[in-house]
């Protein structure tokens, strides 16, 4: 008798692959650190007093103020930390919103086919035809300003690619034997879709979430520049935007440290997305 070694599940195999590469581990550590900082800031354990004056206006980085101070003498370090909270919450919420829309519409279109499919395809082709920056502007215009508007506007512009991928994949799976078997056992449509098909397309969602996360962080900066972003919280976007008037006076620290903070997390998510894609998408393996 031939004894086969127990096959590892896709997810355990993925984790194993992720932890094999040093670079991916570094990226995961960075993401974990940022998440912890964001949570600590959220609970007010650190940077809770970012809004207080700690020194003179525009003090350069020194031993006392590691990253310098801003126009009101507030600590740039505290603002960067508070900005981390904003950025992580934007990435997470936008990821969640776009995945909910993308998976729901994509799965419905792919599974039901027919007129529903045509309508959903028409809808996402329409949304895809409007340049995302214009759609974003229009949405924030209507939703007003503030963090919730940023979540929704970004969430509603980033779901199209995911929806298209999920639709195609669900369509491919719909007529497979295992789904037919489930149907023969009396599984309802909902059960076939949610219990049997969706777990098989989940890998696309994971990769897309990682991509959307960093994309949302990058887009928040642009919204802030347009005056459509965060209002009374020191996001990285607002800090970078402040630098427009600061740079000519030689004040480089807000821009530099906000850019650096953003660069690290975006880079980490870029590396993670690549690693996830390598691990989860067998077609791309070995490239």
């Amino acid at each position: 008798m031939i004894v086969h070694p127990a096959p590892r599940s896709l997810w355990r195999e993925t984790l194993r692959q992720l932890f094999q590469k040093k670079l991916t581990i570094v990226a995961l550590v960075v993401i974990f650190t940022y998440t912890s900082v964001a949570l600590l800031a959220h609970w007010g354990l650190i940077a809770g007093s970012w809004n207080t004056e700690v020194g003179s206006s525009y003090a350069a980085p020194s031993m006392q103020h590691w990253l310098g101070t801003d126009i009101f003498g507030r600590s740039v370090l505290a603002k960067v930390i508070k900005g981390t909270e904003v950025a992580m919450s934007v990435g997470f919420s936008v990821g969640l919103i776009s995945i909910t829309i993308g998976v729901a519409l994509g799965a419905l279109a792919g599974y039901l086919g027919g007129i529903v499919d045509e309508c959903i395809v028409w809808f996402y082709t329409t949304v895809a035809s409007i340049p995302s920056i214009m759609l974003l502007i229009a949405l924030t215009f209507i939703l007003g300003k503030g963090i919730l508007a940023v979540y929704i506007a970004l969430g509603m512009t980033h779901w199209v690619d995911l929806c298209r991928l999920i639709r195609g994949e669900v369509k491919r799976h719909r007529d497979r034997e295992y789904v037919q078997a489930a149907a023969a056992l009396g599984a309802s449509h909902l059960r076939r879709l949610c219990r049997h098909i969706l777990p098989n397309v989940l890998h696309i969602v994971v990769v897309c979430f990682s991509l959307i996360f960093q994309f949302a962080i990058k887009s928040e900066v642009i919204l802030s520049y347009l005056g459509l972003g965060m209002q009374d919280s020191p996001s990285w976007g607002v800090m970078i935007d402040d630098a427009r008037v600061e740079l000519t006076r030689g004040i480089w620290w807000q821009l530099t440290f906000a850019t650096l903070a953003m660069f690290l997390i975006v880079l980490a998510f870029n590396i993670l997305s690549d690693a996830l894609r390598d691990a989860l998408d067998p077609k791309l393996k070995g490239k």
């Binding site: 214009m134 229009a138 970078i240 000519t248 975006v266 880079l267 870029n270």
Partner: protein, 313 residues
């Protein structure tokens, strides 16, 4: 089916999408958005003034009629007048498009050539130090904020070193050149990261095909395979990527234009946002969506011309 029939049919399919776009924009601006007269007249407006302005702007008409107006303006390209400057929007578009194109066309051509060349280089020397560092540099370049590039670039090269104009623009052929060099360079830096990675993946996709193995088996040099066979086949996705980028050229890079004071369409759009100038924002959105749809049709037609395997129906 002939290519003409195919073109006509593809254009016909584009109509529902165009109607969808106008519908989305109409719902966003005419139905969901608040009363614009409030922002236009300021805080001390009387109800009567607001009612008069609403009438003047045609906002008191039934929604269906308003939508038909939007639809008509889409097909006639007559978008009415700007609420803030009272200029005809079609005229604003013509003037703005010139400035936008003088920046975006050279930047786009250079960026595309450069990134295709770098992607080929990376693919040719794949898995060597050169390839890996090109990929790493691309990822690093993609991770820096757009605004950081613009701000640092403007500060260092224009303000500190004084090599380029800080901001401004002049119309006419040789005169605009000094104003577009730095913005164009920033544009190139911005697009190289994602483009090199994308093109490299496409080229590597081809490298794993059977015909490459055959070519190698019959003893062709690596260089010949890459430039003669692989590049030709990779051209289809590359062309798609290039053509679908063209609509965004006309809108220009919103942020770059506004930082460098280039009076292009991107700049006009940003000003319209600041002034709550709905007709201009609507016109720009419809215009860019239309271009996107048209260039998508063009891509599909190019496909059938380049690749005989693609059936016309």
């Amino acid at each position: 089916m002939s290519i003409y029939h195919y073109t006509v049919r593809r254009l016909f399919y584009a109509i529902p999408i165009l109607i969808g776009v106008t519908l989305v924009i109409f719902i966003l601006f005419n139905v969901v958005a608040g009363d614009p007269t409030l922002t236009l007249l300021g805080r001390y407006a009387t109800l009567q003034q607001m009612a008069e302005l609403r009438h003047e702007l045609g906002l008191d008409k039934p929604l269906l009629l308003q939508y038909l107006d939007t639809l008509r303006s889409t097909f006639t390209l007559q978008f009415g007048r700007s609420w803030s400057t009272n200029q005809p929007i079609s005229q604003m578009i013509q003037v703005g498009a010139y400035a936008s194109l003088t920046l975006s066309v050279p930047a786009f051509v250079l960026a595309s050539l450069l990134s295709i060349a770098m992607a080929l280089l990376a693919a040719f020397f794949r898995d060597t130090l050169l390839d890996r560092s090109l990929v790493v540099i691309s990822v690093i370049m993609m991770s820096v904020s757009v605004l950081a590039y613009i701000l640092f670039g403007q500060w260092v090269f224009a303000y500190k070193l004084g090599w380029f104009e800080i901001a401004g623009y002049e119309y006419g052929f040789p005169y605009f050149i000094p104003y577009i060099i730095l913005p164009a360079m920033i544009w190139i830096v911005l697009s190289i990261g994602p483009d090199v990675r994308f093109y490299r993946t496409i080229i590597l996709d081809e490298v794993h095909q059977d015909y490459v193995r055959t070519a190698r088996a019959k003893g062709l040099a690596n260089r010949t395979i890459l430039f003669k066979h692989v590049l030709k086949n990779a051209m289809i996705p590359i062309i798609t990527n290039l053509v679908t980028q063209i609509p965004s050229l006309i809108l220009g890079a919103l942020l770059i234009e506004s930082f460098f004071g280039i009076p292009g369409l991107g700049n006009i759009t940003l000003q319209a946002i600041n002034n709550s100038d709905f007709p201009v924002i609507k016109a720009m959105t419809i215009l860019s969506s239309m271009l996107y749809i048209i260039f998508n049709v063009i891509t599909d037609i190019l496909y059938t011309l380049v690749d005989p395997r693609i059936k016309l129906n």
